[in-house]
C-alpha cells in the first residue's frame, strides 16, 4: 500500500475549508470533546453566538442520533462509527455533515423523512416540532425524543440534503448535509 500523501489530504481539507473532521468509532466522550473543539474554533472565528449555537446544535443532534441508532440496532462499539465534517461555506455560512452505516431499509425510510422535511417551511417545521414534542415518550431506555431531525431542519438555512450509498450486505452509508 502506498503511504498516505498527507499534503494531498491537507489540500483537500483546505479546498473544502474544513474546520473539523472525524472518521471512526464515536463515543459519548468523543462527541463532547470534538464539540468542545468545534465551539472553540467558532469562537475564535468570531462567529455570532446564535450561529455558533446552530452549528453546535446540528452537530450534537446528528452525532447523538448516530449513536442512538447504532444502539437500537445492536451494533458493537467498533460499528458505532461516524464520519463528521464541519466546514466553512459561502457568505459566513457553515456546512455540517455526518454519515454512518445503516441497514439499507432504514436508510430508505430516513431519505423519505428528509424529503418530507425539506418540503416544509419554517412555520410548518415549528408545528411538526411541537407535535413531536407532545408525542409519547419512547419506552426503550436511551431512545431519543425523535425531535432531532426536525430540530436540524429548523436551524438550517437551506433544505437538508441526504444521500444513501449501498455498500453491500444489506447496508448503506447514510449521510446528511445541513447548511447553517
Amino acid at each position: 500500500m502506498d503511504p498516505i500523501d498527507l499534503f494531498d489530504l491537507r489540500a483537500l481539507f483546505e479546498r473544502h475549508r474544513i474546520l473539523v473532521c472525524f472518521n471512526g468509532p464515536i463515543s459519548r466522550g468523543l462527541i463532547e470533546e470534538i464539540g468542545n473543539a468545534l465551539r472553540n474554533y467558532l469562537d475564535a472565528e468570531q462567529t455570532k453566538p446564535g450561529a455558533a449555537t446552530d452549528v453546535f446544535s446540528i452537530y450534537i443532534e446528528l452525532t447523538q442520533n448516530i449513536r442512538r441508532y447504532a444502539a437500537s440496532r445492536g451494533y458493537s462499539d467498533a460499528e458505532t462509527a461516524a464520519t463528521v465534517v464541519v466546514a466553512r461555506h459561502d457568505d459566513g455560512h457553515y456546512m455540517v455533515l455526518a454519515g454512518n452505516l445503516v441497514e439499507q431499509d432504514d436508510g430508505a425510510v430516513l431519505l423519505q423523512r428528509i424529503e418530507e422535511l425539506s418540503r416544509l417551511d419554517k412555520a410548518e417545521l415549528k408545528a411538526a416540532y411541537k407535535a413531536q414534542l407532545r408525542a409519547p415518550r419512547p419506552s426503550e431506555p436511551g431512545a431519543g425524543a425523535g425531535l432531532g431531525l426536525i430540530e436540524i431542519a429548523r436551524r438550517a438555512a437551506q433544505p437538508l440534503r441526504a444521500m444513501l450509498t449501498d455498500v453491500g450486505g444489506g447496508r448503506g452509508f447514510f449521510s446528511l448535509c445541513a447548511i447553517v
Binding site: E32, P49, T53, Q64, G142, L147, G148
Partner: protein
C-alpha cells in the same frame, strides 16, 4: 427534606434546589446523551416539593443550550407546573439570558407559548 445540589459537567447543567426558599436553579448547557436519566432527579425533587409543601415554587433557568431530548424533558417539568397552576398552586419560571445569544430567547419564548403560569424571560444581570 434535602436540598439538591448537582455540579455542572460539560454536557449537564448545575442544579441547586433549595427546599426552604422554594427555588430550583439550573445553569449551563444541557445535552447529555440520556437526558431523561439526568432530568429524573430534578423532576423527582420538584414532585416531592410540590407534594410535601404548600409553598410557592420558582424554577430559575440560566440554560444556554439544550439538545432535543433535554427540551423534551424540560417540557415534562413545564407540564407539571401547568397542571399545578391549574390547581391553584403558585409556580413560576424565570429564564435569564445573555443578550448576545438570541437563540436562548427564541427557545424560552417557544416554551412560554404553551404555558399559562407566570413565565418571565429577561436579560441576566
Amino acid at each position: 427534606m434535602d436540598s439538591l445540589n448537582i455540579v455542572a459537567t460539560q454536557s449537564t447543567p448545575s442544579v441547586i434546589a433549595d427546599w426552604d426558599s422554594g427555588v430550583i436553579s439550573m445553569a449551563g448547557d444541557s445535552y447529555p446523551e440520556n437526558s431523561f436519566e439526568f432530568f429524573d432527579q430534578v423532576f423527582g425533587w420538584i414532585e416531592s416539593y410540590l407534594a410535601n409543601t404548600e409553598r410557592p415554587l420558582t424554577l430559575e433557568l440560566r440554560i444556554v443550550y439544550m439538545n432535543t431530548s433535554s427540551v423534551k424533558a424540560m417540557m415534562d417539568i413545564f407540564d407539571l407546573f401547568e397542571e399545578q397552576h391549574g390547581k391553584g398552586r403558585q409556580v413560576s419560571v424565570r429564564w435569564l439570558y445573555d443578550a448576545r445569544n438570541e437563540r436562548v430567547v427564541e427557545m424560552a419564548e417557544e416554551f412560554k407559548e404553551d404555558c399559562t403560569f407566570p413565565f418571565e424571560i429577561r436579560v441576566d444581570g
